[in-house]
Every structure is written in C-alpha cells, then in structure tokens.
C-alpha cells in the first residue's frame, strides 16, 4: 500500500510513545479507550495557561478577549469538522456521556411521555444505555433493543419491526467500541424519521475514523469526545439541530447560561450558551481545535486507509494463534480487533502483555449486555491509531505466543 504519510515522523509528534513500560518500549494499542496527544495539542494547552488564561465572555480586558476568541474559534472548527449548518449547534460538553445525558434529560424529559418507546441497540456503550433507562424509569417509557448477528452487525429487519408510531427516539452507536462495527446509520436515521422519531448518534468511536457530515446524515443529535480524536480528556461536543436545541429546556442552571436573573424569574441565554452553564473547560476547548487541525492535515481518508491496512494485517496475523477467536467480524469495521482465546481469561492476557510493554484493553469495555450476547465476560481488544505500525503488531503476536506458552 502507498502510505500517504511518513509514520516515523508522525510518531515523533507523540512524545508519550517514547515511554518505557516494564523495561520495554511502549506499544500502545488501547486507542479506542483514548488516543495519545500530539505535541501541538500539548502546546496549545500549556500555551493557553502561559499566555492568555482568562475567563471567557465576561472580561473586557485583553486576555479575556483573546481567550474568548480562541474558544469560539474552536466552536467554528468543530462546526466545520461535523459540517454543521450553524456554529450555535455545537455545544461544548465534558464528553460523549455528558452529551447523551443532556439530550435524555432535556429533550427526553420534555417531549417523551408514558408509553413512548426509545430504541437502542445490543452493542451500546453503557453511556448510551443508562441515561435512557433513567429516562424510561422516570417517564414510564419503554426501552427496545435492536438485536445483532454473530458477526456483530445490527439486524436491520428487526429494527424495522421495532419501529412504530410509538417510537419517539432512537439512540445508537455509530461505530462500536467493542466490535469495531460501523453501523448503517443513514438508513437507521431515515427509517426513524419516517415514523417521526428523533435520532442521536453516539459518535465516540466514529469521529476519529470516519468522515462526518451531520447534514448529510440528517441526524438530530451527535455526541462525541475529543480525547478519542487525539484531543484533550474531559471535553466533547454535542451537535443538535438548531430548532430542537431551541425547543429544549436548559440542562444545568448557573452563570453563562442566563440572560437575566431576578429572584422571581430567570430568562435564559440563547444557543449555544443556554447549555453551557458555568466556566467551561477553556484550555481543552481551545486545544481541541489543534487536535482537529492535526487530524485534518493528515487527512481523515488517509488515516482510515492506513488504519484499515493495520487492521487487515493484524486480523490475518492473529490467525496463527491457536484457539483465538475474533469477536466482531462485521463487513464494515474500523481498526478494532477484539478477541478471546480458548481457556485463557482476558485479564491474564492483559497482565502478561502489559509485562511486555503492550497496552491492550481487557474486560467488557463498558458493554456488558453485548458481552452477554456473545456469552462471554469480556475480550482482549487491540485498537489501532495512526501512529501504530506493523512492527508493533508483530510484537503483539509474539507477546500472545508468550502468553499462551506461559499459561499453557
């Protein structure tokens, strides 16, 4: 394959890749949990604190203006990243979880009533299960679940059967963190809209791998976390269609989200500030722009092509490990390789790989119902990012042979 960029120079952008773990050079394959951060993002965070730390939208002094402008530039950058129509459709949150909770607690509480139905899927992260369960419990709504096949793909026929005029909301994951499956979200959205339901996509995993266009998808809400796109932790965005966001009540009360406060009555600020109560995570919002710039300079299509190459290589290579079974063999997948090995507990695999300096994720990946669907308690998961290499995959294979030998 013709790699359109130089991996060794990309690796130099990520200082953490030089870490030595248990005496070995770090091999970081836990990118679906969080990606590492390039130097430009680290510099943006410290640059903010060193040069223009100030509270935003309030002061009229130089620093406050500079900080406010950087903050709002980030919003514009993320608007472009998602191809949202208006910048006020971009709400800063603390991450995917926060965004989903916001929608369930505001749109859900206001517009759903007893007997209404919410549809999620078997492969949801707990973040996209629990907020809806909480809402259903409170409002007397019913939660329905789209089943999947053994490859880890949604059963679209079953989805269609679940859709009725009682369906008011559909909230599904764009890309599964445990399986890597890319879901046919455009079709999901179209069919939901046909019965008048709104749709939220959990974009935590999709956003670093796939080209995003919320207008083309026509989703009503899209929630994502910057820490999975080479950006800072504890920071994310919720996209929502402007009309919907306007119709929703505020989520949290406090400073910034108000227009005028008296003890008798408060009027709320307009979008997006209505949903951004309190002093936000300014440094990380500012740095988010640099993460997105980094990704788009490399080119998302290039990143995806390279990651797919790594996935193909790894999928082929693990075949030589006897007793290994890949969990998640969807036709459309991102670079996530989840597997179990006969007779070996995933935690033992994780501990022994860690001793060799290889970081994989083991466990249920916050998708317990999905694990139950496969009759397992967890998997080992190697997930690849743009700075990973085939040589590292070779080390993983070698490491797995050692694990098998030691536990055999």
């Amino acid at each position: 394959m013709n790699i359109p960029f130089d991996i060794s120079s990309i690796r130099k952008d990520f200082p953490i890749l030089n870490e030595v773990v248990n005496g070995k050079q770090l091999v970081y394959f836990d990118n679906a949990a969080t990606t590492q951060k390039p130097r430009v993002v680290l510099d943006a965070i410290s640059g903010y604190y060193e040069h223009y730390n100030a509270n935003i939208h309030r002061g009229i002094h130089h620093l406050a203006e500079k900080a406010t402008s950087a903050f709002e530039q980030s919003r514009k950058r993320l608007q472009a990243f998602l191809n949202a129509q208006f910048s006020e459709e971009i709400i800063f949150t603390s991450g995917t979880t926060d965004g989903i909770n916001l929608v369930a607690a505001t749109y859900g509480r206001k517009f759903l009533k007893e007997g209404d139905e919410v549809i999620i899927s078997t492969m949801e992260h707990h973040s996209n299960i629990v907020p809806w369960q909480m809402l259903c419990e409170e409002k007397g709504c019913i939660l329905k679940v789209i089943p999947i096949n053994d490859e880890g793909e949604l059963l679209m026929d079953e989805y269609e059967k679940l859709l009725t005029e009682r369906t008011k909301f559909v909230s599904v994951v764009h890309v599964s963190n445990s399986l890597g499956t890319i879901n046919p979200v455009k079709e999901i959205i179209e069919k939901a809209h046909a019965v008048g339901a709104k749709v939220l996509l959990d974009g935590a995993q999709a956003s670093s791998h796939l080209h995003l266009d919320v207008q083309d998808l026509d989703c009503d809400f899209y929630s994502l976390s910057l820490h999975k796109i080479y950006g800072p932790t504890g920071m994310g965005i919720l996209y929502g269609k402007r009309d919907l966001l306007n119709a929703m009540p505020p989520y949290r009360g406090g400073g910034e989200m108000i227009k005028e406060v008296t003890f008798e009555k408060t009027t709320y600020n307009e979008l997006p500030y209505k949903f951004e109560a309190g002093t936000p995570n300014i440094a990380d919002v500012v740095a988010a722009k640099y993460a997105i710039d980094y990704v788009e300079t490399l080119g998302k299509a290039n990143i995806a092509a390279y990651e797919n190459e790594l996935l193909k290589y790894a999928t082929e290579a693990v075949r030589e490990i006897e007793g290994l079974k890949i969990i998640g063999q969807a036709k459309e997948k991102v670079s996530v390789l989840s597997f179990v090995i006969d007779g070996i507990h995933h935690q033992d695999i994780g501990v022994l790989l860690d001793q060799q300096g290889i970081a994989v994720r083991t466990g249920h990946h916050c998708t317990q119902p999905l694990m139950s669907r496969f009759n397992i308690t967890g998997t080992s998961r190697a997930s690849f990012a743009v700075y990973n290499t085939k040589e590292e995959i070779n080390l993983l294979i070698k490491g797995l042979h050692k694990v098998k030998r030691m536990l055999g």
């Binding site: 935690q347 033992d348 994780g350 022994l352 083991t362 249920h364 308690t377």
Partner: protein
C-alpha cells in the same frame, strides 16, 4: 508461623526470580495448585466484585482461628489470591484485622492491589480484614 513470618518467607521465595517471566510463571503455578473453592461456596454473597475477573471468598471460624478459602476465574489473580490466603488464613480475627501487609509491595506486585477496579484483589483484602474485625467483635460480645 505469624503473618509476618509467612510474608517474609514469600518475599524470599520471590527473590529467586530475576525476571518477570519466572516471577509470573511462579504465580501461575501457585494459581494452578491452589485448590478450587467448592461450587456451593461460589455464591453471590461470596463474590467480590471486580471489574474484569471474579473473585470468591469464603470465611469461617475454626476454633479460635479465622480461615479463608477463595477462588478466581483468572489464573494470575488466582495465584495472587492464594498468596493472600496463605498469609492471612488460620490466624485469630484480631491478628487478621491488624495485619500490615507489605509482601505484595516488596515482591513488586503492588500494582495488582492498586488496580481496584480491574481485579477483585484490593476488595478481597479489605473483605478479609472486615471479617477479622467482625469476628473479633463477635468474640468480644460473647465474653
């Protein structure tokens, strides 16, 4: 042997190993040799909730001594569990409640105790001590 004598013995056992592989191979062996907990004790009550591996702990009094039996579905945790049982089982509740466990740190395995969310070990140790306190209180009340 006292709790500390057993700890010291384990520490010197581990001094024989100079690389991680032989150390972990030994722990895996301990895990394999550790007698499994009878199914009847693998109850919901006896389960220590860890995030990734399950650990069961059964406690009972044998005369004046508090004894433990345990199990885990992951082999390395099983080996570590066997060490905790070896050190703490068969002492008085008071000794167990007041024990200062330093062997994991000295052997260089303390990260397994620190990862409270990913295995049940730290929770198991806490539970063992809680049994110590509970039985200690019981025997005081009975007197």
């Amino acid at each position: 042997m006292t709790i500390n004598e057993i700890q010291d013995e384990l520490i010197s056992d581990f001094e024989l190993f100079d690389d991680w592989e032989s150390k972990y191979e030994y722990i895996i062996d301990l895990g394999k040799q550790f007698p499994p907990l009878e199914e009847q004790y693998k109850t919901e009550d006896n389960i220590i909730k860890g995030c990734q591996s399950r650990v069961w702990l059964n406690a009972y009094m044998d005369g004046d001594l508090l004894k433990f039996e345990a199990d885990s579905d992951a082999i390395i945790v099983r080996g570590l569990v066997s060490m905790l049982v070896k050190v703490l089982s068969g002492h008085t509740p008071e000794e167990i409640a007041n024990a200062d466990l330093y062997f994991m740190e000295r052997i260089g395995l303390h990260q397994h105790l620190a990862q409270t969310r990913s295995n049940g070990l730290a929770a198991m140790l806490k539970q063992m001590k809680a049994y110590g306190f509970a039985y200690q209180a019981k025997s005081v009340n009975a007197e």
